[in-house]
């Protein structure tokens, strides 16, 4: 392991993420992994990684790093202002850092999450088969101001590589997301079922565990306690308040709130990149 970057400023939240911690959900360990798979995968492809390597996932902005060694990186995800020694650089395209360089990721204009990935990926200890950081249970390595991000000693890329602008994802302020009916959909009042699929909801905050959205208040036909059962990234559960919660990458493995729907796997990245007060519409996917 080789020290690559020193974290000199920490933004909203940052964590190391690989593809996730598989095989332990039956023991209550969340899957974790990237919130926006599409941007994470793009970084892997740009860097020609045969296997998914570990990225640093940031809820921007306000992150700053100092290079401790020369290296090749790529930034993917929400469109942000990124600077090397105060000079803007392009996202979705490899760039070099020389020892002593300062990289900063400032305001984000579209989306909310950015991935920083070095050639060969970051390196930290595997815990339960994954390098993803999970605060609950303290799995993986917590990155704070003053932390060092390690990588592997690797050769550099011969050419700069990137994704052409037309292929880069857009992160709109209003999104439409496909859904599958949840196991408790039919328990909701008809009015609530209709409103859920017709009316817009607004993103009002959240974290890697869950996103809160607000719209018409959703009610069950009658008060009923349901038994806890498995939940996943994309599960939309409705607590008694009637305001839905979309469970995200660090979703708890089981939950006891009624599940109205589950987000289509290929639309999860859109949900992940929502910003405060963005709107979300739901449409049912035919099965």
């Amino acid at each position: 392991m080789k020290p690559l970057l020193l974290v000199t400023k920490l933004g909203v939240y940052g964590s190391l993420q690989d593809k996730g911690r598989f095989g332990y959900r039956a023991f209550g360990i969340p899957l974790s992994g990237p919130m926006d798979h599409r941007s994470f995968q793009a970084a892997q492809r740009i860097l020609q990684h045969h296997h998914d390597q570990t990225s640093f996932e940031m809820f921007v902005g306000g992150f700053e790093f100092e290079a401790l060694a020369d290296g090749v990186y790529v930034l993917t995800g929400g469109h942000s202002t990124c600077l090397v020694n105060h000079v803007p650089i392009e996202m979705w395209k490899t760039f070099h850092l020389t020892r002593g360089d300062r990289l900063s990721i400032k305001g984000v204009h579209q989306g909310s999450i950015v991935y920083l990935t070095p050639l060969g990926g970051f390196r930290t200890n595997d815990e339960l088969g994954s390098q993803s950081y999970l605060p609950l249970g303290n799995l993986g390595t917590c990155i704070t101001k003053g932390s060092i991000l390690y990588g592997q000693v690797s050769s550099s890329l011969k050419y700069n590589r990137g994704l052409y602008a037309p292929y880069r994802p857009r992160f709109d302020s209003s999104i439409t997301v496909r859904l599958f009916k949840g196991p408790h959909f039919h328990l909701f009042a008809e009015e609530s079922q209709r409103q859920f699929l017709q009316d817009p909801f607004q993103f009002i905050g959240g974290n890697r565990m869950g996103y809160y959205i607000k719209g018409p208040t959703l009610q069950l036909q009658e008060m009923k306690d349901i038994l806890s059962e498995a939940t996943q990234f994309g599960t939309i559960q409705v607590p008694q308040s009637g305001n839905p919660i979309i469970l995200m990458a660090d979703a708890q493995t089981v939950g006891g709130y009624p599940i109205i729907a589950t987000v289509h796997e290929e639309d999860l990245h859109k949900v992940a990149q929502m910003r405060m007060f963005n709107t979300i519409h739901f449409v049912l996917e035919e099965t």
Binding site: F22, G23, Y24, R25, A26, F27, G28, I29, E127, L128, L136, G137, N138, L139, F180, G182, P183, I226, L227, S228, E229, A230, Q232, G234, Q252, T253, V254, G255, T262, V263, H264, E265, T287
Partner: protein
């Protein structure tokens, strides 16, 4: 002859998740059906299965690609008709608990709700064996059922900001143990010297779904002795 367990109701949750549901209740017969079906899925699906999560009445399977449900149904019925049905073996774990008031933070509340002296509460808590019905909420948190009805105490209205790891609690019809320090609303009646979760250990989790669990009482001296030995 075991009674035939009907094939559960199946439903796709998303592209790679399928949910199998038995009758919606917490019961011992459901527990056996869920355990048997979970084992069956692991055998039948093998490498198509990423992992599965079982609850009181459901088995949720995370799979790599679409599977043929009708074929599974046939296999399930065939397997049960055969005499070589794998009933599986549940482990029996004996868990030491110190019920000293230093650890039993909700001693008074549980006594008030049940109207029983704490001696009786301890005895009732140890009087039967429980099964791990569900694991979740925290890494390795076992939901153990079913509690003697005399010990039903609702969870705290306002959860504690922090419950220390290895605390033993009761809440509703169940008892459980906190694997890590965490906020929580169960009524705490004791503490075990055992670690429930150690990511670096050879066996990271003390409990597994389906385990049978019995509690026995230890003194405070024994608690600290076991704790220092790290048993």
């Amino acid at each position: 002859m075991q009674p035939i367990i009907d094939f559960p109701h199946s439903m796709w949750i998303s592209q790679h998740t399928i949910r199998f549901a038995f009758k919606e209740e917490i019961s011992h017969s459901n527990f056996h059906a869920v355990q048997a079906f979970n084992r069956f899925l692991k055998q039948q699906l093998q490498h198509h299965l990423i992992e599965s999560v079982a609850s009181y009445h459901t088995v949720t399977a995370y799979i790599k690609q679409k599977i043929d449900i009708e074929r599974l149904r046939t296999q399930w019925l065939e397997m049960q008709a055969s005499t070589t049905i794998d009933k599986g073996t549940n482990r029996l774990l004996k868990i030491p608990v110190c019920y000293d008031e230093e650890f039993a933070l909700d001693q008074k509340r549980v006594m008030d709700f049940t109207g029983l002296p704490f001696e009786d509460i301890k005895t009732l808590h140890m009087s039967k064996s429980y099964y791990v019905y569900l694991i979740g909420f925290l890494p390795g948190f076992p939901y153990l059922g079913e509690l003697d009805a005399k010990l039903f105490v609702p969870r705290l209205q306002k959860p504690r900001a922090s419950v220390s790891a290895s605390s033993v609690g009761v809440g509703g019809g169940q008892t459980g143990i906190y694997p890590v320090d965490s906020p929580g609303g169960w009524n705490i009646i004791g503490k075990t010297p055992l670690d429930l979760f150690d990511a670096h250990g050879k066996e990271p989790f003390l409990f597994e779904l389906g385990d049978e669990v019995q509690f026995y009482e230890i003194t405070k001296e024994q608690f600290w002795e076991m704790k220092s030995k790290g048993v």
